[in-house]
């Protein structure tokens, strides 16, 4: 896979897609904003106290969340990547579940646990601080990002050659020395990458500040939405969005360098990972944190499910919210039925996943080598574009070209595909990198063209990864809230957006029921992921 260099037409669709639906709308949006306000007006907008407050909020929330995510995620990553123990692959696969949950559902779960009369805060009132405000936002961000840190830490540890560690041991290196020399640096690298992503995702958080704190906690992402949609100042919104992208450029570029450039000597070789030293004092804190994370996670999901299943309509009994949820009132209030929103969610996510996978398959034929950092970074560019910037750009640039409101469904699909693309590409890339070139070469020697050889030999070998990447992109689309909320009109509402609107209509029971529905759909997707791609995820 690394032997074919130079341009090939198979990368063009992906390069074009990223350019047309990621880069171009964002750049034109920024240019439009700056030319509308002019240089002085733009600088003045940036120095607006509320915008500066949003910058500060983004930095504070991003930093606190990243530090907390690393503090929680690193030990879990060590537990997963360093040792062998029974149930490890299941535990590891479970870490993917938070990615599949819509942010709005996690926000609701945190409120259920730590809010007034929450399951946890009623037992431990001191923890009620996590029910709202900055601590609540950080708790939501950690719920998402600690698993991310754990996964990247585990992957980092696994990239450290086991036999290097064994060599250090045979040279007299103590366990601490082995950590410092052999596997620790890889784990730090993974944790740093995870921490940077956690910082970026948290600094761009949208639903958590919106629902748990309000305008005083708005991040730049929420502020851009507010300027564009509430205050109807698209020019200022675009200028703030450009500043936000610049602000997050550095951490994301460092992340890309860490992820795309393997360290010298990386690659697991030989040896076997040690068993978990159950009796050793080193294992206790690891196990304690691991169990706490698992317990917290089960509690969060359980709370959302229980509250959803027993959700009450106004003045009704337990479970009475389900009937009106599918009734005419909701359709009248929101302009779409719950079945319609469910259908939209499934359709948009399915089309977005298909686009991501088709592009991934084409790109897999000519994967950029480790040295082509620029090209690889370009393909991961959508990570640099926040959901609000993306949807704002698509709405500004593409909506008029595609025929106005009738094209909203397409814009939602394109935004979901663009946002899911880096994750789908990464999953496929890792799988294809593990396939020896001899498989394709042997088919080529039988007379197949290189592309046919790729389709016939390599692609079937990575089918589980392909399906997993597709399901992952599907699940991300299903749970996507920020961009979809920005773009959606009543006819093209999805379940997460319907849930948020029901909260706004003071129908918490109905919103709870939708949250439970979303959890069930997400868990079903997880089960499918486990079934077809479990080995890849593990």
């Amino acid at each position: 896979m690394t032997r074919r260099r130079g341009p090939t037409p198979h990368l063009l669709p992906l390069i074009g897609f990223v350019a047309l639906f990621g880069l171009l709308p964002a750049v034109l949006l920024f240019i439009g904003g700056w030319s509308q306000l002019g240089a002085n007006g733009s600088l003045k907008a940036l120095s607006d106290p509320l915008n500066r407050q949003a910058v500060e909020n983004s930095l504070v929330q991003g930093s606190l969340s990243a530090v907390a995510a690393v503090a929680v995620g690193y030990p879990v990553g060590v537990l997963l990547g360093r040792y062998e123990w029974r149930g490890q692959s299941t535990a590891r696969a479970l870490l993917v579940v938070p990615f599949l949950l819509p942010t709005i559902v996690v926000v609701l779960g945190i409120e259920d646990l730590f809010g007034p009369s929450g399951a946890v805060s009623s037992v431990l009132p001191a923890l009620s601080i996590f029910g709202a405000g900055l601590p609540g936002i950080v708790a939501v961000n950690v719920s998402y990002n600690a698993p991310l840190v754990a996964l990247l830490t585990a992957v980092g540890i696994e990239s450290a050659p086991v036999d290097l560690e064994e060599t250090v041991a045979t040279l007299g290196g103590s366990p601490w020395r082995r950590y410092l020399v052999a596997w620790g640096p890889s784990s730090w690298r993974g944790a740093l990458a995870g921490g940077l992503l956690a910082f970026v995702f948290s600094a761009l958080a949208f639903a958590a500040p919106l629902l748990l704190c309000g305008a005083r906690c708005y991040t730049l992402e929420a502020r851009v939405w507010s300027l564009a949609e509430v205050l109807l100042s698209p020019g200022e919104a675009a200028v703030v969005a450009s500043a936000m992208t610049l602000l997050l450029l550095v951490p994301l570029l460092i992340y890309l360098v860490l992820v795309l450039r393997p360290p010298v000597g990386a690659g697991p070789r030989g040896g076997r990972r040690p068993s978990l030293p159950w009796r050793s004092p080193t294992a206790w804190p690891l196990l304690g944190i691991g169990l706490a994370v698992l317990g917290g996670f089960v509690l969060l999901l359980g709370s959302v499910l229980v509250r959803g299943v027993t959700a009450r309509a106004t003045g009704g009994s337990a479970g009475s919210a389900w009937s009106p949820l599918f009734g005419a009132n909701v359709t009248r209030e929101l302009g779409i039925s719950t079945f319609g929103a469910l259908g939209n969610s499934l359709f948009f996510a399915a089309v977005a996943a298909t686009i991501a996978i088709v592009l991934g398959i084409l790109a897999g034929f000519r994967r950029p080598s480790a040295r082509e950092t620029g090209l690889r970074a370009y393909l991961f560019l959508p990570l640099l574009i926040s959901p609000i910037v993306l949807s704002f750009g698509l709405a500004t640039f593409w909506r008029p070209l595609l025929g106005g409101n009738g094209s909203v469904w397409l814009l939602i699909v394109l935004s979901q595909a663009t946002l899911g693309l880096p994750f789908a590409l990464q999953g496929l890339d890792v799988a294809l990198a593990s396939v020896a070139p001899r498989f394709r070469e042997s088919v080529e020697t039988l007379g197949a063209s290189p592309f046919v050889a790729y389709l016939e030999s390599e692609l079937p070998l990575v089918r589980p990864a392909l399906v997993a990447a597709g399901l992952f992109a599907f699940a991300l689309g299903l749970g996507e809230f920020t961009a979809t909320y920005f773009l959606a009109t009543p006819s093209f509402t999805t379940l997460p957006v319907e849930m948020y609107r029901l909260e706004g209509l003071r129908q918490p029971g109905l919103a709870d029921a939708i949250a439970a529905l979303l959890v069930v759909v997400s868990l079903a997707t997880f089960a499918a992921l486990q079934r077809v791609g479990g080995r890849v995820l593990a």
Binding site: P161, D163, L164, E166, T167, V168, A169, T170, L171, G172, G173, S174, P175, R177, R178, V181, P263, V264, G265, R269, G270, G271, R272
Partner: protein
């Protein structure tokens, strides 16, 4: 010679499947022992058990009389070289060689002296400041040995260290390793599935089959007198189950005739090997034999009907 390593009744398993059973042997100080056997026979597991990288189910391991059971790897004083040399990334050759003495807390002056000595011994002085990733396969393996020896282990284990080295360098490297290790007077256990390499290097040879030691002895003796079918097959003998019991026949002791006395068969394939030839014959009893000849005997063409006789055989115990 004083006893270096002593292994008694060693048993180990992997995922509850026995990999080693009742393995016992000794290696004297300064002795070079080769551990041979087919793939999957348990060689690498045995080596890893000795150094404490795999848990053992039973038995005891002693080094210079000290019981090593339960002693962590880094306190055993056993050096291990892997098939792929695992040099520390981002460090120079010198820094790699110095690693062991440094973590032992040895004064800097002595560390430098040891490193210089090892670099000289393995002809690495010109490469001392080169980063580890800029070395060839053979150079990397020499650095790995230098680093192991600089830590002054009581026993060195070599896990097929020449397997990933280019063939033209392999022979040279074998001789160099043998000479260096002998000069240091260290006990060595060298694992290989290459019988020529094992027979060439070892003062004694240990044959492992299905997790059990099936034969131990000097290379010549083991080669001339294989005891079991497994050993005979590993050493390249033909094995036949005749009326006098199982027997091993060396390929060079096989004679082919056009007719007459002997086992009937047909030549499957034949070809030149250096100055001689090798042929494979399918016998009418279902066995396939290898036979070798020199320039003094004509090479049989493929497809030819032949009779097979042999001038010498070795009785097998199983």
């Amino acid at each position: 010679m004083p006893e270096g390593l002593s292994v008694r009744g060693l048993a180990a398993s992997w995922d509850r499947r026995p990999v080693l059973s009742d393995v016992s042997f000794t290696v004297a100080e300064g002795e070079f022992v080769t551990l041979m056997g087919p793939n999957g026979s348990g060689k690498s597991t045995l080596l890893r058990s000795l150094v404490g990288l795999e848990p053992i189910d039973a038995g005891e391991i002693r080094l210079a009389g000290r019981l090593l059971n339960g002693v962590p790897t880094h306190r055993r004083g056993i050096g291990l070289l892997f098939q792929e040399p695992t040099l520390l990334p981002r460090r120079t050759v010198r820094e790699n060689v110095a690693f062991g003495p440094e973590i032992q807390g040895i004064p800097n002056a002595e560390v430098d002296a040891r490193v210089d000595e090892m670099l000289e011994l393995l002809h690495l002085a010109p490469l001392a400041d080169r980063p580890s990733h800029a070395l060839s396969g053979g150079e990397r393996q020499r650095v790995a040995l230098a680093r192991t020896l600089a830590a002054r282990p009581s026993l060195v284990l070599l896990d097929e260290p020449f397997a990933s080295v280019d063939p033209e360098i392999r022979a040279e490297l074998r001789a160099e390793f043998r000479s260096v290790l002998r000069s240091r007077g260290i006990a060595v256990v060298h694992v290989t599935h290459d019988r020529d390499e094992g027979l060439f290097l070892g003062d004694r040879v240990l044959l492992l089959s299905e997790g059990r030691l099936v034969q131990v002895g000097p290379p010549d003796e083991v080669y001339q007198h294989p005891r079991t079918r497994a050993v005979a097959r590993f050493l390249g003998y033909n094995v036949t189950a005749g009326t006098r019991g199982a027997r091993a026949v060396h390929p060079s002791d096989v004679r082919l005739g056009a007719s007459g006395e002997g086992l009937p068969g047909r030549v499957l394939a034949s070809g030149s090997v250096g100055r001689g030839w090798v042929a494979y014959v399918d016998l009418s009893n279902g066995e396939r034999w290898e036979t070798r000849g020199g320039e003094d005997r004509p090479r049989p063409p493929a497809g030819e009907a032949v009779t097979v006789r042999w001038t010498r055989d070795v009785p097998l115990q199983d």
